[in-house]
Symmetry: C2
Subunit: 188 residues, 2 copies
């Protein structure tokens, strides 16, 4: 396959970012789709999750990604929202399983490292780099949408699932390779 | 409706307890189904969640509950397993939403109070009371199965969703009513 099409998902109940990118063998990347699936905070949780699921399935139907990349959720984060985020991530992974799509999760640090070259970049730096990599005039809004694209890029550049062997590519770490590629792309 | 059929779900990735009970207007309860849906820890997360979803849908197809009651998950619990539990609870709630079934979540304390009359009962006391209420010779095994039944009983006795108004029933608290009922049933 010359191009890997990745659906990145920044899971959330109120706003769930979705971003689809095509990544070529030379690691150049093209924007296919970006958006946010929303659910109404006044609706009961079961309807909110069904709305998120419907939105994710619609993106898959329209853009046929080969793989889903979902942000890995940690319980030590904001306690109030983390359960909704975890549930939304479960929905995304379930849909991958039901559609027979590969799925992987990546930590925020992995995403930052892949996109900017270092794991402690702030969110704004990540989003600005996403816009440069995809040759966009502006950072996609809201932030959840840009974060979903960053996840998709991270997944493609890391060479598949986190548990898969690292791709051949010399002595560079994945982050270094990603950084070199990002710089190259940004100079175009 | 003379009888409320409730599907209780004790969410989990490795073992997801499912219990269906019929609860009559006089609050007497009958066992309809109890079991555990398992997923293989060696499988990727997306397939595990799909297996849980398939199992829950099969129980709904076979027993047609009116409502799902799911244990509310808290992030302060065991960090390692809480994400899988939260994801499984999201799957259960999603299925309710997609099937147009009502759903509610109850905390472990609410379940203990409803079934035993006090919120600090230990798990064994809750499970023993479940067996007595349902006139079973033994406590259903594994514990997840008994916990799912306790959730279903809690939901029926609390009078629907947590946000619904309390049912008419004199000056007793829900826990007191549940306790009085459990005692009455256990004496039969």
């Amino acid at each position: 396959m010359a191009v890997l099409r990745v659906l990145g998902i920044d899971p959330g109940l109120t706003r769930c970012g979705v971003g689809v990118v095509d990544v070529a063998r030379d690691r150049s990347a093209t924007l296919v789709h970006v958006g946010v699936i929303r659910s109404d905070p006044h609706e009961p949780i079961e309807r909110r999750l069904a709305a998120i699921a419907e939105g994710i399935r619609a993106v898959i139907d329209e853009h046929s990604p080969s793989v889903l990349a979902v942000e890995r959720v940690f319980s030590q984060h904001n306690r109030h929202s983390v359960m909704g985020t975890a549930q939304a991530s479960g929905i995304a992974l379930l849909i991958a399983g039901e559609r027979g799509l590969a799925a992987a999760t990546h930590t925020p640090t992995e995403v930052k490292a892949a996109v900017t070259g270092y794991g402690v970049a702030d969110k704004r730096q990540v989003q600005a780099m996403v816009a440069r990599i995809l040759r966009l005039d502006e950072v996609p809004q809201p932030a959840d949408a840009a974060d979903a694209l960053a996840l998709a890029l991270c997944h493609a550049w890391r060479g598949g699932t986190a548990s898969a062997p690292a791709p051949a590519g010399g002595s560079l770490t994945p982050a270094q390779r990603a950084w070199a590629n990002a710089e190259r792309l940004a100079r175009r």
